[in-house]
Symmetry: C2
Subunit: 434 residues, 2 copies
């Protein structure tokens, strides 16, 4: 809008045109206030009824809450106004009138269920504390991309429509693709690996992944954002180094650039970028420490996957982000390389927030024969993955990488109770709209 | 890899460990050279057969082209070497042997069909000129994001699985979503509009879009990257300003940061960031100018869409990027607003590269009643879009935006003959793999 001033930039002495939503109208009799809200904040507009044109007063005070208005007028100092200034309007124009019955109260005075909020995201994101989540999300993605570039990774985009899934036919959404069966990709795993064998060597991708998992929990989504990294000539230790650097960079950027958003979420005191190295526990140490907490009904033994309560007990015990390394090979996917000196032991790793798993990664199997064998052991037909396996015959370097759950990163960073709060329009078993 | 040096960083006097692909072996009898290639460039490794350990010579010279090797040794000045230095090896290790029969020649000496290249992208991207396209693509996306942030837009991610398409049921790929019918989204249009009514006001998204278009041409993809922008309180003129700034920023960043890549593509002399304002032609002027070229068999009349030959004739005539504005309302989608003083005339615009359309945008219809009417006129049931339309009752500001085709931007910038060259793993009517 030509000549528009953000409310946050309105200084005493300015003549401004401000535009935004009617946040509140306070009528004190002879004097009344319209609080106008825009992207940058709020500003008070003062109506002195006896001294102003009737039409102006009627327009400014007769409008419903959440209507969109443009106000032109002079800014004056007013210590009693919320931002220390107020506008005396010369004109008020209503650009879009709002229905007086709102399905959700953007002032936040009336609590709403998450499902009502998700059905009305437009209104929900008029609340400072909800908007703040998505401003922080954008900053996290910016910082993560920057850190990847700092370590010489190239951003790539791989296809979301695929002929075969990464780990076979389970948990895939089927598509009809010009009469052929196809699927929505559940992970860029195979494609990013193909790129480390190219001249790019080191790549990252931030994009949607699709998983037809049946479970409906506060920490699963059927469409999520995956932050993927893969590097030639790296082993699992170097992949962990990059992983740690990326997560720290995200926290540091939020700490540095999002104090206002943290305040909106009432996290300004609590929020801390993790310091020091993330401890790297072997799987063996992990199960010993979990068993030692005594919090599990049954003791874990070598070969068990970690149950959710086990992860929680360990997270409380460790108290910071940490890695679990050296998993039993049999509970890691076939494309993860085993240790050269012990093929029962995998180079796979998980990176954990005290509350949940954020990352899974490892060094990959780059030897053609071992890879094809792995497909067979997993019960997959190597033929249907020939586009992938055959490239391992033409000089595929050793490589490692990881996948970091974007929404889980935001959720744990901000202490959100439900992963759906970190997505504008989440998709789950029940929710397909908006 | 611990202690690895990129070949480009190897300086005379250094002892280095370099790792990469065997680009070439030149055996001159008593002396032989292995040219090792990595992400950063190439380096010559010298084998003096009589003065070196037989095993070392055998390993270094017996390896097939495109195998992956690690070489440790001393770097010396050698003016006759391609980069002015060479490595005298202390050790050579083969990390991955390549099959001597390659489906594609990464040295580029043997030409390959595009389809062979796409089937073997890993090898294809070992060529400098192909790798350069994707380094440039990554830089374009970086620069575009930065420019959007400069104009206070927030990056968002909207769902790719949707219950209804933007413009109804045509050209959508159907999905089975937990037993329900759903679709892969063809555009973030409706979702980004919902966000301008939120506290974010101004948003952008770079993500995949999916179109089940039947035509198989050198400039269409069934899965593409859309660069979307939408802003509250903006009209079509302001959307055009942002669009122009974003495209210019992409060119300027490539000019500034990708000279090496432009050289690999032999574009270093030709490449120019567009200067001056992009001309804004009305649709009426556009058809007049096309008719005046005399290149069309039949004269265009008001209401005709522009045929491809028309776009080409006009592009040659104008010679730079340009906008076409003020289209007839009936050939623009229902969500585009008409001019207030002439409802036959739409605020829709296209932004054109001389060779093809890159962008389509406009001011949007933000008035609830007009919007619902538009759905009906388009033959769509407003009920199925209620999640979208109802938000227009609660204070939806005037807004405008655009969608820019990511691959078309790269294709026209680099003069690529086929849009598939700008995608790592393109999807078209025939191609679903790799």
């Amino acid at each position: 809008m030509q000549g528009r001033t953000y409310t946050a930039d309105a200084e005493p002495g300015d003549t401004v045109k401000v535009a935004g939503w009617v946040h509140e109208i306070r009528d004190l009799g002879g004097i009344a206030f319209l609080i106008l809200r825009d992207k940058s904040g709020k500003i008070q507009v003062k109506f002195e009824k006896d001294e102003m044109d009737d039409d102006l007063v009627e327009t400014g005070l007769g409008v419903h809450r959440e209507s969109v208005v443009v106000v032109e007028g002079d800014v004056e100092e007013e210590p009693r106004a919320p931002t220390g200034v107020e506008v005396t309007p010369e004109s008020v124009e209503v650009l879009a009138d709002a229905d007086p019955e709102l399905p959700l109260d953007p002032s936040g005075k009336v609590d709403a269920e998450l499902s009502t909020r998700l059905d009305n995201r437009t209104l929900d994101l008029r609340k400072d504390e909800v908007k703040a989540i998505f401003e922080i999300r954008a900053e996290v993605l910016r910082a993560v991309r920057e850190k990847f570039r700092d370590v010489y990774a190239t951003e790539i985009n791989t296809p979301k429509i695929v002929a075969t899934g990464t780990e076979g036919g389970t948990e895939l959404f089927p598509i009809t693709y010009f009469g052929k069966e196809a699927f929505m990709n559940q992970s860029p795993q195979l494609f990013k690996q193909l790129m480390v064998g190219s001249g790019l060597e080191r790549v990252f991708e931030i994009g949607p992944i699709f998983r037809a998992e049946e479970h409906n929990t506060p920490r699963h989504l059927n469409e999520a954002t995956s932050i993927d990294f893969e590097s030639a000539f790296a082993d699992h230790q170097e992949a962990m180094d990059v992983c740690e650097a990326v997560v720290k960079a995200a926290y540091e950027a939020v700490d540095e650039n999002c104090q206002e958003e943290l305040e909106a979420l009432d996290l300004q005191d609590e929020f801390e970028a993790p310091e020091g190295d993330f401890p790297r526990l072997s799987y063996e140490e992990a199960i010993e420490r979990i068993n030692a907490t005594g919090k599990l009904d049954e003791q874990l033994v070598w070969g068990d996957d970690l149950p959710t309560e086990g992860e929680k007990a360990l997270g409380e015990d460790v108290g910071t982000h940490y890695f679990i390394t050296d998993w039993p090979s049999e509970i890691k996917p076939f494309y993860i390389k085993d240790h050269d000196d012990d093929e029962q032991l995998s180079t796979g790793f998980d990176m954990m927030h005290p509350n949940m798993e954020l990352v899974s990664g490892g060094q990959r199997e780059h030897r053609y024969e071992h890879l094809v064998e792995g497909f067979e052991q997993q019960g997959l037909d190597p033929e249907s993955f020939e586009y992938y396996t055959k490239m391992f015959k033409y000089g595929m370097p050793p490589h490692a990488g990881f996948g970091l759950g974007g929404e889980r990163l935001i959720m744990t960073m901000l202490g959100l109770g439900n992963i759906r709060e970190a997505v504008l329009f989440p998709r789950d078993r029940q929710r397909l709209s908006p």
